[in-house]
Amino acid sequence: MSVNLILADDHPLTRAGLMAYLAKEQDFNVVGEYSDGETALAGIRELKPHVALLDIRMPRLDGVSITRKIKEEGLPVIALMLTSYDAQQYVLSSLRAGARGYVLKSSSADTLARAIRIVARGGLYLDSEVANTVEEGENMSPEPISAREREVLLLAAKGLSGKEIASQLFISERTVQTHLASIYDKLGARNKTESMLLALKYGVVMLEELLD
């Protein structure tokens, strides 16, 4: 199966590097190359590629906004973020906007190709540098989390405070903290955002659940 792609990156050197990555893959077909957000969105609307590789920070229109537009307009295009930033909040806001993955520009060609293939199949790809550095094999699965912990995690992911979660689940705030601590421990996360990203990555929760 060949994959039609567009690439939007305002920096010529990194764009050239990424193009060289993509050229090596026989089944990738780059149909558009853009150096700013507005022309990229126009290209997406016109060409409707399978996957759009979008830099988060671009002149005129940033990658997250393009992703949101794709979702709003119901375009059959999968957004994969390409960036130099490994800030978890950036990752989360991209995912909330509708992106299906997040790859650092400094990744290897193989990593980029794998990410593209995963999202093209409908999967979710999160760069290992973004969500925890430990990646022991593709199908490494964490200690299973309980149904209650899963509920707490989902509510926390929607931005509810400990107090709000407690009142919604009819448990004490202390219990909520205990659940969260247990979740961090099982997933190997250091904070709430990381635990969400790792939960997504391990398939503990689905992206759709998180966005509801």
Partner: protein
Amino acid sequence: MKKNGTLFYVTLSIFLPPIGIFMLAAAELFYSHRNIEALAELYIENFTESIAGRMEYGRIPFPGEFPSLSEDPGGGREPVSFRIPVLFALLDKEGKFVSGSERMRELVRESGGKIPTGIAGYIRAPDGEKFTAVKFPVPGKDFQAAGAIPWKDVPRAAPVRLWSVLAASMALWSSLFLIFIWRNVINPIHWLEQRVSSLKWGFEPLDDSLKHATPRVKKMHGTLVRVSQLAIRTTKTNRACMNDLVNVQEDERTKISRDIHDGPLQDVTALIQRIHLARRPDNTPEDTRLELDLAEKIAMTTVKEMRALCDFLNPPWLELGLSQALTELTERQALQYGVKIFLGVDESLNLSDSVTLAFFRVVQEAVTNSVRHGEASNIWIDIKRSDDGDVELTIQDDGHGFDITESDTADLRAEGHRGLSNMEERMTLIGGQLKVISYRGEGTCVRGLLPASGPR
């Protein structure tokens, strides 16, 4: 404690002098009263005794009518010329009134027994009137001669009676004065002192209501109110300045962060990508060589960009002095923007570091503006000392200029264009001035002037 202390000293200092004067006056009055009394006693003794003596020799007829000497000064003979009013009576052996003035009759009837014989004494009639009186037996006759001086008719004794009234009114006056001073001077000053010492200067104004106070105290209060309002304005200005400073700093940081992100960070990312590409297992040696060549080029670009960033942030060649620093700067800018820059700097200027930096930044900004906004292709820079000793900086370009009237620097600043106001502030900080002269189609001239009296 402090309040009581003040009151005590004020009261003391107000009351002490009048009290002293009163005491002295009282003593004076007391002694003069005593003297008059002694005189009166001596006088009445002599008078009565002499009348009695004259009666003995029949010089004065008796028993007969004796008019009151004071009541009828023209009617008597020798005693008539007395200026002190004297009452006289002739008494019998038992001290009963025989003849004399009407008032003497009353006195004898009511207090006859109290009239001393031989030595004059002080007696008081039942109705309160005071007299100095004496009686003498007429030698060889069964009569006594009695004389008395009524004090109410002695003119010089009046202040003695008035003294207590004077003292009371003086005390009352002093008290009123003290109350006035306390209410209008001491109390307001006290209040002011407490308000001023507890005031949060620069944050709250001094209350402007002061009901009771003398005009001068009110004036002082008004001045303090104005000072407190001035302090508030100063605080506000300071805060605005600090805000500006923080904002400028944040803006600068944002700009540097963006420059690093868009420049070196992207370059190094591209470099990593090329290394990845060079290491691919299915590369031919030629592929690898090409990737490595590219990687090297990118690395050199990175170095160049980082150098440019360093130069922008703080050029190391500023240490070389104004002339060399500007030569370096203009050569770089000429190359970067593709313009011709003609630089003329008086080598003998010998300016301080802060002035050098200010001139450097002004030139940097002016050249950037000339290229960016005026699209100039030639720029002339001249720095020299005038005949007056002032340092003059001129930057002239052949760009398309602009009408300076249509865009005030303050407006530009508000819109986020700090270029012009930055240059102005740089010059102001070193004690100089900056003027921009431009007309549409005639190029722009930026003129800086550092007076000879300014810092070097």
